[in-house]
Amino acid sequence: MRLNFLNKLKLENVFLFLIFSYSIYIFLNCFSFIDDNTGTTAGTFPKYISFSLIIFSLVLLFSKKELNETNNFFKVLLSFLAIFIGIYFSNYLNFFINLFFVFIFNSFLFQSKNNNIFKLLFISLIFVASLYYVFGVFLNINFPGFE
């Protein structure tokens, strides 16, 4: 299977996506995120966000370069890894931000057409926010990264 979408994905779109996710992170960070270890907000997030974004962009670029030559078996492993990283970083980073990355990355893996990236970001954001409101607010369940 050829991932045409990833081939056609322009570098500026990747950067736009990174900036977009970064600003969402800051937005969430300002209002809700408090680091469990230090109890601070502003001091701790750059390390985690930069780390996770570096990993995410590496995986994204890696997929873009390599996925064409590989079979779908490799895509399953990538999806598995993305979910694993998402769960692992829930210990350090806001749970729902990890979910957002997992959504985006898996969506990339599944699509073959040149779909609208902003539409995808919008859907993922709406869905993750709904999940937060259903489980975090309505059902009042404590998630990592939230007080």
């Binding site: 299977m1 694993f84 769960i87 997992v102 969506s107 893996l109 599944f110 993750v128 999940l131 990592p144």
Partner: protein, 494 residues
């Protein structure tokens, strides 16, 4: 009789409450969407609904599950008929004749047949559930540890006997049995295979394992299979005036298939897919219009749909009265019961009679609502089923992770879910039955505990004094040997 009527009224009372009634409608609608969406099975759908019921009381929670379970069995037929993409495994049989009718421009007739047959089968299943679950539960009071051991053993071995690939089913069961031994020994209190980790002390929680196996495993499988190959074909517009069937013309096939479906539903591990195939096979042999089967036979649709719908009621009989799940979805329901601190069996019928009777009535009402929503909303369901998989798959993944986490607020459970997602994918890839692992895990605990209790009472000789248990053990041995004989017979024939 008075006890029955009192509890029946209690059940009706529960359903009259506007909130519960609304939950029932939501369950039916969500179930149809689950069923109509290729890639979402009833077991997966019910497993994903569990996290949403944490804050609900047990009655509305189970009304939701039952309504979704029953309606998802119908939902699968919509896409099977219109776009030849069965939403559920059991509706694959419906696609044989349903899609042929669609190609001839009679998709409305096919959908109407499937809807009426589903509702008919569902009502028969619900009726048999009410008639038999209560006597079975009453009888279950007299069962001792030896009989429960026999039942668990028969439940496991029947998966081998009825499975398409007995050796693979046996392997999956054994894996489930091994997994069931992990954790603190419930009798001696010793640690078993915990690797010193406190996370393993309670063994594997059922819900993360099932979400992983059925939901994540399916997503991984679809990813590898290239989900984009599922092309949605255009529905041919109706060009004939014949759009509805008359139930009385198909009464014989509907009654027979519903009874077959209910009976097969009772057998652990058999499930709605086998019920559909057997009913279809029987109907094609007995029908006066044999030549129409496979070319667009309404009778074929009626046979498969009524059987898979009625199997729901049948499968609930051993689940509620004995705690033995009849299918993968019932195993999920068993996990949900334990999550709501409910123990299936005779006690459930006495201590939580209101819940049991609410389930009975919910199953009845769900079928009526299926008819209503099925009649008016086919076009809507088809549109919903066209959600692109690159959106649907991440939604399922996120629901899996969040749902698993919310169970015990445990990140470790998320890893378990992910691990079993990988196991589910490998199983699906190599055609091993994932449901058998869950049955092994669920029934393994029942099997081991009751065997050890029996041995503590009077050693192996105890079984000889219990004819019921001995009979079940003999049936179990026959179930194990049966596939071997079947193979030998097939070889000698060929």
């Amino acid at each position: 009789m008075e006890f029955f009527l009192d509890n029946f009224l209690l059940g009706v009372e529960s359903l009259i409450i506007p909130f519960n009634f609304l939950i029932l409608i939501i369950g039916v609608v969500v179930g149809i969407i689950i069923g109509a969406t290729p890639g979402l099975s009833p077991a997966m759908g019910v497993a994903l609904l569990i996290p949403f019921t944490y804050e609900l009381e047990s009655i509305p929670a189970f009304i939701l599950f039952i309504a979704a379970y029953q309606s998802s069995n119908y939902g699968g037929s919509i896409t099977a008929i219109t776009i030849n993409a069965p939403g559920t495994p059991s509706s694959a049989v419906t696609a044989i004749d349903g899609y042929e009718l669609t190609k001839k421009g009679k998709y409305k007739l096919a959908l109407n047949s499937a809807l009426k047959a589903s509702v008919f089968g569902g009502l028969v299943g619900a009726l048999i559930l009410i008639l038999f679950a209560i006597p079975v539960a009453k009888y279950a009071v007299y069962l001792g540890s030896a009989e429960y051991f026999g039942l668990a053993l028969f439940g496991l071995t029947s998966v081998v006997a009825f499975g398409k690939k007995p050796l693979k089913a046996l392997f999956a069961i054994c894996l489930g049995l091994i997994l069931s031994t992990i954790g603190i020994d419930r009798i001696s209190g010793e640690e078993r295979f915990t690797f010193g980790s406190i996370d393993f002390y309670d063994g594997f929680s059922l819900i993360p394992v099932m979400i992983g196996l059925f939901a994540l495993g399916e997503v991984f499988y679809k990813l590898e299979q290239d989900s984009n190959k599922i092309k949605v074909k255009k529905v041919i517009e109706n060009i004939t005036s014949e759009t509805k069937i008359k139930i009385k013309n198909y009464m014989s096939v509907l009654v027979n298939s519903s009874l077959i479906g209910t009976f097969i539903g009772i057998i652990p591990g058999a499930g709605s897919t086998i019920a559909s195939f057997i009913s279809y096979g029987r109907a094609s042999k007995k029908s006066e219009n044999k030549e129409e089967f496979g070319k667009g036979s309404v009778e074929g649709i009626c046979a498969s749909e009524s059987a898979n719908s009625s199997s729901v009621g049948g499968a609930l009989i051993p689940l509620l009265s004995l705690g033995i799940p009849g299918s993968a979805t019932d195993a999920v329901l068993l996990g949900a019961l334990s999550l709501h601190s409910l123990v299936p069996g005779p006690e459930l019928f006495s201590a939580n009679a209101d819940l049991v009777y609410s389930i009975f009535i919910a199953l009845f009402l769900a079928n009526i609502f299926i008819y209503f929503f099925g009649s008016i909303g086919n076009k809507v369901w088809i549109k919903i089923s066209k959600i692109p998989y690159h959106i649907l798959a991440p939604i399922i993944i996120l629901l899996c992770i969040t749902g698993t986490y919310t169970l015990k607020s445990s990140i470790f459970d998320c890893y378990i879910c992910l691990f079993f997602g990988l196991v589910g994918w490998i199983f699906k890839k190599f055609d091993y039955p994932s449901a058998a692992v869950v049955l092994g895990l669920v029934l393994g605990i029942m099997l081991e505990d009751n065997l050890r209790r029996s041995l503590m009472i009077s050693g192996y000789g105890y079984f000889l004094t219990r004819p019921g248990a001995m009979m079940l053990i003999i049936f179990s041995i026959i179930s194990l040997i049966y596939p071997i004989f079947k193979k030998i017979k097939m070889k000698t024939r060929s």
